[in-house]
């Protein structure tokens, strides 16, 4: 049994210590907003926040989250930066297939939490680990700038 704090709620899980947070969220808690894309920290689809930092949940075992706070896409609408990012995403109509977008939004909110006015180079650095096979990159970039101006 392990206790995880997910979106502000303590949850008891009967899983192996080495199970990545991704599968605990998806297959055990059925919190499926967080996506699986590569399983090797190469695509960013599984991005969540661990104590506010963007991490790849596909390679981070649940044991590493003990005593820490996990935040997922499902909680973004309750957070100031999350709201700004989601409303920018909607204004610019970023999504296509949508599969990568939870991860993109989690990466973007983590970026904006530490950098209120990211430059294009900052966006490249923070977001280049998040693949979008649909190529929504130009709109993601525009939406991050848009969200930054909303938060300013």
């Amino acid at each position: 049994m392990i206790t995880l704090n997910i979106n502000g709620k303590e949850q008891q899980l009967d899983v192996e210590d080495d199970m990545p947070i991704l599968w605990a969220l998806r297959d055990v808690l059925h919190l499926t907003g967080t996506k699986f894309g590569c399983g090797m920290s190469l695509c960013g689809a599984c991005t969540v926040h661990l104590d506010g930092q963007a991490i790849r949940s596909c390679i981070t075992p649940v044991s590493a989250a003990a005593g820490k706070k996990i935040t997922t896409i499902e909680d973004m609408q309750n957070q100031k930066i999350g709201q700004a990012v989601q409303s920018a995403w909607s204004e610019i109509d970023v999504v296509q297939c949508g599969y990568c977008q939870s991860g993109q939004i989690m990466a973007a909110t983590a970026l904006l939490a530490t950098n209120q006015k990211p430059s294009d180079a900052d966006i490249d650095a923070a977001m280049t680990g998040n693949i979008c096979r649909c190529g929504t990159y130009p709109r993601i970039r525009a939406a991050i700038h848009n969200a930054a101006s909303k938060l300013a």
């Binding site: 998806r26 297959d27 894309g37 190469l42 999504v95 949508g98 990159y137």
Partner: protein, 728 residues
Amino acid sequence: MNAPINISRRTFIKATALVAGGLIIGFSIPYAKRFLMPGAAPDAAPDAAKDAPKLPAPNAFLRIGSDNTITVMLAHSEMGQSIWTTLPMLIADELDADWSTIKVEHAASAPAYIHTTYGIQITGGSSTTWSEFDRYRQAGALTRALLVSAAAEKLGVTAESIKTENGFVISGDQKIPYGDLAEVAAKIETPKTVTLKDPKDWKIIGKATKRLDGPEKINGTAVFGQDIHFEGLMTAMVARSPVFGGTVKTFDATAAKQIKGVRQVVQVPTGVAVIADNYWAAKKGREALKVDWDLGVNAKLDSKIMLEEYRKMAATAGLPAAKAGDTKAALANAKQLVEAEYSLPYLAHSPMEPLNCAVKIEKDSCEIWTGTQMQTTDQLAAAKILGLKPEQVSIHTVFLGGGFGRRANPVADFVSEAVQVAKAAGVPVKTVWSREDDVKGGHYRPMYLHKANIALDANGMPTAWQHVAVGQSIMKGTSFEAFMIKDGVDATSVEGAADSPYLKSIPNYDISLHTVQATIPVQWWRSVGHSHTAFVMESLIDEMANLAQKDPLAYRRTLLKDHPRHLATLNLAAEKADWGKPLAKGVFRGIAVHESFGSFVAQIAEVSVTEGEVKVHRIVSAIDCGLAVNPDSLKAQMESSVSYGLGAALQSEITFKDGMVVQSNFHDYQVMRMANMPKVEVYIVQSTEKMGGVGEPGLPPVAPAVTNAIFAATGKRIRTLPIGNQLA
């Protein structure tokens, strides 16, 4: 006013709602004969007259609820291309609906939803919008007519005196919401004709419209195949042969079964499946599984050696694909010659969502949840495996986390396998592919080699074009073979080359094809044959222009002078990109134009090369696709095509060594990422020409536009993709 359209023969059907107090518009057309798959239509087209009012369910195209919601059923799959919005726009405009009341659902797998041209239920070929442009508008117009009749009856006025607007029927000072009329409308006889709006009266069609699937895709609630869960559903991973065509000799599941959460290990035709409580257990179980494979005939496969063989084959002509004049003689008289060989690798589609498929089998039925682009094929395959009738298999289409062609598998690979696993395991199962399974899983864009000899006259204009293409056929062995392969030539192997507009201005040409008999599974990859032919053709034209010492834009304009749609896109792109005007130091332009899927796209790339590193700064695109139903989603598709095509051109390749695929995940199968993505500008030619597609046509010109710019920058002609580190 547009002329009324006779709809009686088109078998519109309607009935009272199955839910209380609503109106359902069913609509089925006779099956298209052109591509009809054997066995695709279980009982032939339903006869509307005979079947009415009992509908051959399901066949609804739209449903009006008494709560005023209007639910549009999508006969096609949403995979990012935004038909979840575009098709409802067609209905909503004709219906004068309130856009905020529109809801959308994927339709069931049923004969009513068969593609109006392709004869099976399919999403592909960039065809959804043009192929549904009439059917969905007519469904909207018919529904409007019924609501008007219902209101006329209710109010005791003539139908002519009634207006509709924003979800209301209006008569004098009375306003009735559509929902209140749905029940009455359901009882009214279907009119024989409907009149579609004059385009000048469109309120939604042609206007940039926000995606209806946006909200759920930004808050994590959109449901993809990967997200399907219900009580009792197990997760399965299949160990497949490391070499295509290999088979299981023996396997030892002892260690696998000791992994906590692993429930069963079963053999299936494609390998050995580990069935577990969750993905993590299934993955660990599969790692612990020992399988002894018979690797079969491909055990020595090596793509380098294959390419050498292709090269040898290209030395002689293949089967004729297009021919005119006396190419040999004209080549002998050439003033100047372009002689070049081009090659392109196998490519994986690698949609963001790895493949998956959930299956639940009951005694006389089977339910499947998956993101598929080709319901009919999947349904037939599942029925065959289970000994059921096709209509006993229902496919619940969920959002596709990208398709790009991969989810329209001609042999229903991922669905058949999931059905086999569920059958063998005797429990509901969701098979999940890892990214490695996806990259190594085949059904690739085939590797191609093209060899061309082109004669130029004293003015540098072409007089002869000899061209041999070598590669695997995509259509061979599929249900489309009979329509797409003529005299041994698969049209998709040479599309964009054998039918090139450039040939029209050349008196002598000889385009031929060697179809390679390899057993590597290949499949349509976004833009299909155009994904290689456009690179070859547009590079060759650039080589010719260079040899002729002519400006590449001017050269194309001369050759394409009788092709106004090509010209229009070239001119628009050139104007927007300031062709001929100076650029920042070190930045160079390249241009390409290509027609595919009924649309015309010109692109201009701005590129710099620094110490062997290619940087693409900007892509200016111009498209003529006829009417742009939703200009913003069109732009998004063009951005998407640039990203997908450019990523592949820069870095992606699947290679084989010792029978096995070398690449495995996104570290060695590299794709476009944020830091490499250029700025993309999209300009739409205002056009009333025939409608074409938008999901694919933006892809073919991007690779040659970039490599032509690289030539301008460095004088080095890239003839092999990916570009990789060829400039280092």
